[in-house]
Symmetry: C2
Subunit: 210 residues, 2 copies
DNA sequence: CTAACGTTTGTCCATTCGGTCAAATTTCAA
DNA sequence: TTGAAATTTGACCGAATGGACAAACGTTAG
């Protein structure tokens, strides 16, 4: 009667679960849920399919674990936005952190994008219970900054959306971005260029006009 | 020896192809390529699978037709951006048109997003041959505006990316947007709110600073 | 050493999916 | 009206896929 203690117990279980989740992130983010096969994941994880299914109940189980693990990391930058800090500094830091995540964790971004694009069939509850409250809270903070005249008067929700969109774009639409920029401008420097552009756009776009 | 004249000939062929493409747009945009089945498309189109395959060679063929048909519509707003016009007016119009497309043609946006997310396996040639040249051309226009001091000095490519990202976000991440905004703010008015926010952001963000 | 437990895999199964085919039905020009 | 061409469909096929299972293999505590 010890509830449902499903966490890994042995050393091997813990290690193998991590290997599987990493492999699954590769596959799911590149092919979407339905476009990915358990065989692909197993091969990427360096084990047989039945072996993989020894550690996870099934394909959905793996995906669910990934999504749950993802959202904490994903929302961290927004959580860090500090009501007590300087508004422009806080917003600039938020943009920079989100852009760094697009650069350093593109797989996570694409996994999430895939899920939302398909109508969030497996993620809707988390959006309502975790994402919405957090955004509401931070939107209120931005609204207060706005009312206090510390940044321009803008719609906080759409400001947040625009920051999500512009930063995640570099992960989700990476192929397009690199194709359009070409070999020269599309190298590693594209993230610095993007950072410069976005900083300027939001710095001037949110500055209080006199 | 009349080449490969594959266009529909009879009235029925023309009509049925349209019906199929519309149904396929529903299914593909909602489930992605691999997540969609020919049976689903056939049912949505109100016909049997073999009947559908009488009009198209196969699943890939339908998808290819959709993508080709899509890109013309999709790039039209950027094509309309006029070098001779007033820079701020042109950019504002471009943003408005892109946002209207996100509102009126969300299926097209999601179809495209799905394709790019998966690494554009079926679209890469079109990106290189159609999209890149067009963006290069318009980026040069914006760069000239920028150099002439008619808008702020910004990276033209990343400006275009940010406009794509912010506008398409309302189609591609619609579920998330509506969930976060909630029933009140997430109604039909969300596009007007977005338009107001984006106009202000880019108006001030691109204004020449003195 | 060895029994018990944890781990791994070959094999198999039911279902789904993209696609084929021949036969049946409908359309339409002469 | 009529017959040839266009259209539609039920039945079927091979491959892919998610998953089950029992047997085999490893590990380790006593």
């Amino acid at each position: 009667m010890e509830g449902s203690a499903k966490r890994p117990r042995t050393r091997i279980q813990s290690e193998k679960r991590d290997v599987i989740l990493d492999a699954a992130l590769d596959i799911f983010s590149a092919n979407g849920f339905r476009g990915s096969t358990v065989d692909q994941i197993a091969e990427a994880a360096g084990m047989s399919k039945p072996n993989l299914l020894y550690y996870f109940r099934g394909k959905e189980d793996i995906h669910e674990s990934l999504i749950k693990q993802l959202l904490d990391t994903w929302l961290a930058p927004l959580r860090e936005m500090d009501e007590q800090g300087d508004p422009m500094t806080e917003i600039r830091s938020y943009i920079r952190r989100k852009l760094e995540m697009a650069r350093d964790f593109p797989r996570e971004s694409r996994l999430f994008a895939n899920e939302i694009l398909q109508g969030a069939p497996r993620t809707m509850p988390i959006l309502e219970e975790e994402l919405k409250p957090l955004v509401d809270e931070k939107a209120a903070v931005i609204r207060d900054w706005s009312r206090a005249g510390r940044i321009a008067k803008v719609d906080p929700w759409h400001l947040i959306f625009s920051i999500w969109a512009t930063t995640q774009h570099y992960a989700d639409f990476d192929v397009q971005v690199r194709t359009v920029l070409g070999p020269d401008r599309g190298g590693d420097g594209r993230f610095e260029d993007a950072a410069r552009f976005l900083e300027q756009l939001y710095l001037d776009g949110l500055r209080v006009r006199n």
